[in-house]
């Protein structure tokens, strides 16, 4: 990836990430994932598969759940990005994060940022998510530790708490 881009011209690209405007000179075909991790030091988004199958690199781009390994940074120009780092401190997320802790929804932690962002996107659109909604909402996020049950239970618990809050 680096080698492929090094000989080509860079462009100035600007976006808002976790509330802060960032402007940098990068190759337009750099993956958003690499820019977040390497240029901006936001290492919460992980690279699992690098081909959009595992969801470890999930971020919200203009409020939409995406795999940042599949986004050329050019397409993130002037957007508003939320990564797992930006979600901490938002009341709604504390609820999800607490539920993940209590239900054993996180083990090795590689999938967890993506799981939480996917769950947050799901609960935003379906606050009263059924188990079927949860399974579908997280179907693009792979976990090799938990067997998923604890993760689904954590999201269901967060959804119940939101309903009674």
């Amino acid at each position: 990836m680096k080698a492929a881009n090094s000989s080509r011209s860079k462009s100035e690209i600007s976006f808002i990430v976790n509330g802060d405007r960032k402007t940098m000179r990068v190759h337009p075909m750099e993956r958003l994932l690499d820019v977040l991790r390497q240029e901006l030091g936001l290492t919460g988004a992980k690279e699992g598969c690098g081909e959009g199958e595992c969801g470890s690199c999930s971020v919200l781009l203009d409020g939409i759940l995406v795999n940042s390994c599949l986004i050329p940074v050019l397409q993130a120009k002037d957007s508003v990005i939320l990564t797992i780092e930006g979600l901490a401190g938002i009341a709604e997320l504390n609820c999800l994060q607490e539920a993940f802790l209590e239900c054993g929804g996180a083990q090795c932690g590689i999938c967890t940022p993506g799981m939480i962002l996917a769950a947050s996107y799901l609960l935003q659109h379906k606050p009263q998510a059924t188990m079927e909604d949860i399974r579908e909402g997280l179907s693009g996020n792979l976990c090799r530790c938990t067997g998923y049950s604890q993760i689904f239970e954590a999201v269901a618990e967060a959804s119940r708490r939101k309903a009674t809050a």
Partner: protein
Amino acid sequence: MVQYAAGKLPARKLVSVWNLPELRRIETFPDEIRIGAGCTYTDLRQNAIIRREFQLLANAAGWTGGIANQNRGTLGGNIANASPAADSLPALLAYEAELVLVSVRGERRVPYVNFHTAYKKTKHAADELIRAVCLRRRFLDYFCYSRKVGARRAQAISKVCVAALGRLKGPIVQDLRVAVGSVAPVPLRLVETELVVKGKAIDQALLSVAGRTATAEISPIDDIRSTMRYRAKVTGNLVAEFLQKLAASAKNE
């Protein structure tokens, strides 16, 4: 993007067509809908007319990848990428879609049915862009059947996928369209199978003839996801299941 990052994309100059408003519209006319090639699977799943009149396409959009993929992947991208395993393409064959192709030379409208000429080869010229996919609004009274067989329910590339439409007159199959993915170098409409079934009443004998004909029409391969034998067997079974359900749909009315 995956191919680019791996250094496997030959094109040196790339133009981003993501989110162009002209490509992101679903236009409704009395006799057809025109889906902009830049519409995402999420756009397709959320569109009321597609959900009601083109269920095969709405279902296939829901099979594709996970939610994050559905938020970014586009119908035009699925066509241009031309994978024989693409989930949305059999639906386009069943609905006899037409494509609007655009270049500096103007626009042309071509039937989708023979658009894929060989593995990963299509009929569009080097300077042409897929602008829209047109579907005639004439399938509301058809029975529709779609099924994907993969290693898991989501985020799996199909071993076999089927999109089929049928209409009965009394016990007789008046019209039938069956299209399959992942079992040939291109998404395939099962023309011979349709001919064998059309004009007949569905009984046990017809189910086995249809299954056998379907199996003979496809050319599946062994690969990382499945085997030739499995794909052939399952394709025949799915065609038979579709016909059984089509016959049962008449009894339920």
